[in-house]
């Protein structure tokens, strides 16, 4: 039995044991009025925590196995069309991580399903009665996705050249199509729980619920888009953490150079996608408000209001750590030293942004607390904690991070086009103008009504996006045929930079758990918002401290299993490196050139 088989058997045994334990004692069960059991009870931690952990860990693996194929197929394309075999090898290495992670995803998915059946039987019956057709499709897609993944990975060496390589790449695209369809179907179930169609009431029988209106409910598409982008971010972060782990345990400079480069690519993808994620999050939040204002207010100003302060802190860590990694990385790029004086100013903007973003405003407060503050808002926090200030801060942070990327990209290049000076001035003006527009609307927002102010955030976002697109397009044109100022010294990174990548991965994972709690928690004591009430002993939505402990536990479980996946990946990788070295493949470009670009 191979390692994968062993994992599968062990986990199946665990699932069976859990099921037997959960269903064995009738004293744990709560019978419904019609004799159908409403709820089961899971020993020690309770039903809520059992389902919570299973769902969260399953989602973490699912995000990884859906995110990684997206950039595996992109890096493979870069390898094919850019004729750079390093990217092809990188793509294959990404995909290898998928194989074991895929099994773990399926196992945790099965665990979640069985726990739902045994612990929340009535709710599960209700949901399956509405979504049965989509569940069958989901299963079928899972088969297709599995088959495509195995053919994609194991056919890598067989379909390596010419037209066969293009066929292989199309398999990668197909893998993404299946994965996206699986994601969209699963999202319909959970988004229905949040935003069932308006005509569905507690008295509506599942058979009377129109399938498509339940499937394509109000928050379905915003969640689809948000999760698609977030999966890319998450996949990039975990891959860069893998690269960091391999970098730190590398035996020679060549191996270190490869994993330094891999970590850079993974982080580039993660931070690049993170920059656009807040826009998708804004859309989702707006749709929640549109669907039900009370739910939106509960999310942003109700018992969950402090959650956003934690989120701001975590995103602050992501922005600061991501930029720090880039700045440290510029140490291995000849020519980057000319940008070093700017980093302290960028750091200043980022820190100021984090402080403003993490400033609380509308908080649930007791009468004593209100009296102590001297009003409903603290005199300082009332000014900084409003959306005008926060939107301004986050847009400036995004612009600053984007500037870090552009400086990193430009560091090693000496443009040769004749209009380089004018182009650079236009780029600078675009970023400066975008910052000015963001600040202008930020200040103007204090002088208009709330409904007008909300519209300003759209102008701020569009300005920042337009500036980024313009700068990138100009940069691509400007750097055509650019000369290198010297070879990038891949592998010459201090160890602390790799620990930063690991902190980034842990933070992304924790943030994902926190946002999962937010999305699910705003339903409060409803399985399906205002349609099916949670009457179990676990119906209350816990406070953030308790949620933080559960989230940390989920992250630990996930990272422990991922470490195992990395270890398995290492078992395969070592012989590859040994083979490559012995056959001198590094000279042919299979391994990254030490000191090469």
């Amino acid at each position: 039995m191979n390692a994968r088989g062993l994992i599968r058997t062990a986990c199946l045994a665990l699932v069976v044991a859990l099921l037997l334990t959960a269903g064995a004692d009738p004293a744990w069960a709560q019978a419904g009025a019609d004799g159908i059991r409403e709820y089961g009870n899971f020993p020690v931690v309770g039903s809520r925590v059992a389902v919570w952990v299973a769902a969260q860990v399953h989602l973490m693996f699912a995000a990884f196995v859906l995110g990684v194929p997206m950039f595996a197929v992109v890096t493979e394309a870069i390898g094919i069309f850019g004729k750079d075999e390093r990217y092809d090898r990188l793509s294959k290495e990404f995909t290898r991580l998928l194989l074991v992670a895929y099994s773990a995803t399926a196992l945790w998915g099965a665990t979640l399903t069985f726990l739902l059946i045994t612990l929340y039987p009535r709710f599960t019956i209700y949901l399956t009665a509405i979504f049965d057709v989509s569940i069958w499709f989901y299963v079928a897609l899972f088969f297709f996705e599995s088959a495509t993944l195995y053919i994609y990975y194991y056919g890598w060496e067989r379909w390596k050249k010419g037209g066969a390589k293009l066929f292989h790449w199309s398999l990668g695209i197909l893998l993404n199509v299946w994965g996206t369809a699986v994601l969209f179907i699963a999202n319909s179930w959970l988004s229905y729980m949040m935003s069932p169609p308006a005509e569905v009431t507690p008295d509506t029988a599942p058979a009377q619920v129109q399938f498509w209106s339940a499937f394509a409910n109000a928050t379905w598409m915003p969640i689809n888009i948000h999760r698609l982008i977030a999966n890319v971010v998450f996949g990039g972060a975990i891959v860069s953490a893998y690269a960091a782990f391999r970098f730190l345990s590398a035996r020679d400079q060549e191996e270190r150079a490869h994993y330094d480069w891999m970590g850079y690519v993974g982080n580039f993808i993660a931070i690049g996608a993170l920059i656009v994620l807040p826009f998708a999050g804004y859309w989702l939040g707006r749709e929640i408000y549109e669907y039900n204002q009370a739910m939106g207010i509960t999310m942003m100003g109700g018992f969950m209001s402090w959650l956003w302060i934690i989120q701001a802190f975590l995103i602050g860590v992501l922005f600061l750590a991501g930029n720090y990694y880039l700045w440290v990385g510029m140490g291995r790029i000849p020519g980057a030293e000319r940008f070093t004086p700017y980093t302290k100013w960028m750091l200043l903007v980022l820190i100021a942004g984090v402080i403003v973003w993490a400033t609380p405003h509308t908080m649930i407060a007791s009468r004593e607390e209100l009296a102590a503050m001297g009003g409903t808002h603290h005199p300082f926090l009332g000014v900084l904690g409003v959306m005008s200030a926060k939107n301004t801060a986050v847009n400036l942070m995004i612009l600053t991070t984007f500037l870090s990327f552009m400086l990193y990209r430009r560091a090693n290049k000496r443009p040769v086009v004749s209009w380089v000076k004018q182009g650079t001035i236009v780029q600078g003006m675009a970023l400066g103008l975008a910052a000015a527009v963001v600040v202008f609307y930020g200040i103007y927002g204090y002088f208009v009504t709330a409904i007008v102010r909300i519209g300003f955030s759209v102008y701020q976002v569009l300005t920042v996006l337009a500036a980024m697109i313009l700068v990138v397009v100009l940069d691509i044109l400007m750097l055509r045929g650019a000369k290198a100022r010297g070879a990038i010294r891949w592998g010459e990174m201090p160890a602390r930079s790799q620990y930063v990548l690991i902190v980034l991965a842990v933070t992304f994972t924790w943030l994902m758990g926190l946002m999962g709690f937010a999305r699910s928690g705003i339903r409060q004591h409803w399985h399906v918002w205002e349609v099916m009430r949670d009457t179990s002993q676990w119906a209350a939505t816990p406070a953030l401290g308790y949620a933080g402990i559960i989230i940390s536990a989920c992250v630990l479980i996930f990272l422990a299993i991922v470490s195992f996946v990395f270890w398995i990946g290492g078992l395969v990788e070592k012989p590859v490196f040994a083979t490559a070295r012995s056959s001198g493949e590094s000279d042919s470009g299979l391994l990254p050139q030490v000191g090469g670009d």
Binding site: L248, S249, N292, A294, G301, F303, I502, H525, G545
Partner: protein, 264 residues
Amino acid sequence: MFATNLKIAIVVVLTLAAYTLLANMIPQIESEVPEEFNLSGEITAERLVAAGERIYNGAGGCTVCHGLGTRAPNLLRSEGNLGRIGARCDRRESGLDCKEYLFRSLTEPAGYVVEGYNPIMPDVRRILSEDQVWTLVAFLESLGGEVTVTADDLTRWDAGEQEEAATGTSGVSLSSTSDPLELMTELGCFACHQLGDLGNAIGPPLTDVGARREAEYIRESILRPRADISSGYETFAGMMPADFGDRVTAAQLEALVEFLAAQR
């Protein structure tokens, strides 16, 4: 190798510990499930107020909007020199005493939106039982006023519910009028709909509804208001009561539909 793995593990654990600590350092607020009010024992004003205060500060979710910012009137403080909610509630609507006004504004909030505020409040009966609503009324009355809610209010309501369960009719008394305009006034339609000079522009206007909609659609919208939300009014989906089918007779309904279909 072992040292490297150990360092990585320490970095991971320390990062997680920091985030967990942060989550535990902030104020801990749990979203409670609305607890049922226990009718056993003597029902005193103090008991009602205490239960109502717990709901107000907890499961009712009232503090999310009332008392913070500009979303909703501040109930705990004086607004416009009228005193706190218990002192000003009997002056909000003519013909309604404080208790009646508070109960109606909690259960039919669309009809009692205070000028200057948006109609964002849901019918609290979606999350609270009738008894819990009465405890909330008692608490709000106690804020500057006299508590007039008694055990009779709770038991009267419970009796009404039992009667409803037995007869299949709503606890809301049926109107006897067959005049559509009178009926619409009694049903509170003008709280949200405009018809000529009457009413508020919260829901779709009824002035020319007959030109836009067939009679069948109008009938369906009265009986099942959530079935189709008019474009541009999605924000207010779910605000219109869905129990008109229980509150009017078939003849009244048809008179109403015919009247509205004729508005062109």
